[in-house]
Symmetry: C2
């Protein structure tokens, strides 16, 4: 663990530094069997099985191509529930607002929350609002927590990847991070990159209805595909081999990444899911996914290859291979 | 509604201005039968009955006499569940942290969360952490959301107060707000005022086990007892008469209020509950409450007197009476 006595921006980046902080400073002091799994949602038995998740959103700018902080907050939390195999039931909505924030912008954000909950087939059940003085916060932060129901026969977790499993993604990666960064840097491309921000519970529910052989689902948000795959590798103690040529990246996104010096594998997504399933059902799963609005570009991108040594290996387009590390710290602050 | 085109500090104060903002700007755009009740927790039917609540905490300073932001975040959310008659099951914990925040202070806060969840007989099921750049936030904010189970035969809500009901409080008011303000202003009194911050679910569960004739429970947080009673009056469309001489206020708290020019009725509490119950069971309820750690100074402070005209009337110590208005805006920013 990093020896800094202060919180660094890098602690929020979705990489090793954040995972160590959460594990060693927070979860260790609050340890219990539910929290200790550190999955995207907690899984509780309350009569039925209930998924429970929370996320705070500090994205900057608040409005970007393909979404805004309101849509992002709904989709992010719905997706954390979806990754647990849950059908989202309800979300909460809590604002921290800087004094002087334009009321019209708040209205726009709430309207966007409204459209997003409709699209995600969920509703806002409860909320809260705090105002802090000027300079006490940067404009507006949102927290959404969510609960969802999980069918008895659904058991997906980053811990359940098995050797031989196929690794699937539902489409083009890195669009969210690139769109935010372009917005922030005032970069304009001929075909502007839009955030992929989308609610995935419909897609994940469709996948789970197809077969019982889905082992993990994980959304590659902060830290990108690299972090998501490393988390699966580490939780399941397996090696994952992926093929660079198989990973869908839009031409404009790739161009932007090259210009900005970014590896698309570590750039955040907000409408992507990595599905790990038995090899035998992979083509059926792909068929199901491609029928769905948010799965049209679904592809197998790799396999689980070995037990014991958690690592992610990328077969490159030029025929070599390299280890894809867990990102260390902060690549793009305030991406979500 | 105030015509300002900007969010004011006063919008966060727990008064009329906040209620109007939440109702007209937020809830109106997200309307559904669960949210529209605007109770302390949402009540959901998910097989069993589930309470769901959220709160963000922006209190300043982070550490104060009687607690800190960690303890406050746990108690506040546990109490919102308790007010719905729920037994808290699990909470979530999400941090927004300013770059440069001392790691040792984070550890202290997490430790305090740990003690508080133990005291409240609940656990942290899931969490999140975001870091923003220096000056992007004032030190550290916390969001806790919570879920709890509600027995089938429990039906409490601010909407259910009935004419003739007794109004009870579980002890001394205004300690939380006064302690925060003293801390902030560097005021020292001979007997320093400590925040009353405490988890009330044990007490409320004990109350509900005593009788089925509990109609409302409400925690007088932002906006104090004045706001809580006005909310009950308005939701139930009743008048409430309270006796100034019956309301427990510590001498030191009263002295501080007089010095600071504050009305104890509008100062925030974090370990208080207003219980509205049938007059016939009031003495039994008081007996149950006084047996509990957080109910030793429980007292009847008033009655529900009339149907139709929502107002709160205070019988003063000098024999007169006055209307206690819903506070308008911000009395003490960042009190919770």
């Amino acid at each position: 663990m990093n020896k800094s006595k202060e919180i660094l921006l890098a602690h929020g980046g979705g990489g090793t530094l954040m995972h160590d902080l959460i594990k060693n400073v927070i979860a260790s002091r609050l340890s219990n069997p539910v929290l200790d799994r550190l999955d995207d949602s907690a899984l509780l038995d309350t009569g039925g099985r209930l998924a429970f998740t929370t996320d705070s959103y500090v994205v900057r700018p608040l409005f970007f191509k393909g979404g805004d902080i309101g849509k992002l907050a709904v989709c992010g939390t719905v997706n954390d529930l979806a990754m647990q195999g849950a059908k989202p039931l309800a979300i909460s909505l809590s604002f921290i607002i800087e004094e002087g924030f334009p009321l019209d912008d708040l209205k726009k954000i709430v309207k966007s929350v409204g459209s997003a909950v409709k699209a995600a087939d969920v509703f806002v059940a409860t909320g809260d609002l705090k105002v802090v003085e000027r300079d006490g916060a940067d404009k507006l932060f949102v927290n959404t927590s969510g609960i969802g129901s999980v069918r008895k026969d659904v058991n997906v977790s980053s811990h359940y990847a098995k050797v031989g499993d196929a690794v699937i993604i539902n489409g083009y990666i890195a669009d969210h991070g690139v769109s935010i960064l372009c917005e922030r840097e005032g970069l304009e491309f001929e075909s502007p990159v839009k955030s992929d921000c989308a609610p995935l519970a419909g897609l994940t529910q469709a996948i789970l209805s197809t077969t019982k052989r889905i082992h993990c689902m994980k959304d590659p948000t902060r830290g990108g595909l690299a972090a998501a795959l490393n988390e699966i590798a580490s939780s399941s103690r397996v090696s994952i081999e992926i093929e660079e040529s198989a990973i869908p990246v839009r031409r404009a996104t790739l161009a932007a990444c090259e210009m900005l010096g970014l590896d698309p594998l570590v750039v955040a997504n907000e409408g992507k899911v990595v599905v790990v399933c038995s090899e035998t059902v992979a083509s059926t799963v792909i068929r199901t996914m491609r029928k769905h609005k948010y799965g049209k570009a679904s592809k197998i991108i790799g396999r689980i290859v070995n037990k014991g040594k958690p690592e992610v290996i990328l077969g490159t387009t030029i025929g070599g291979s390299r280890i894809v590390d867990m990102p260390y710290g902060e690549l793009l602050p305030r991406i979500c």
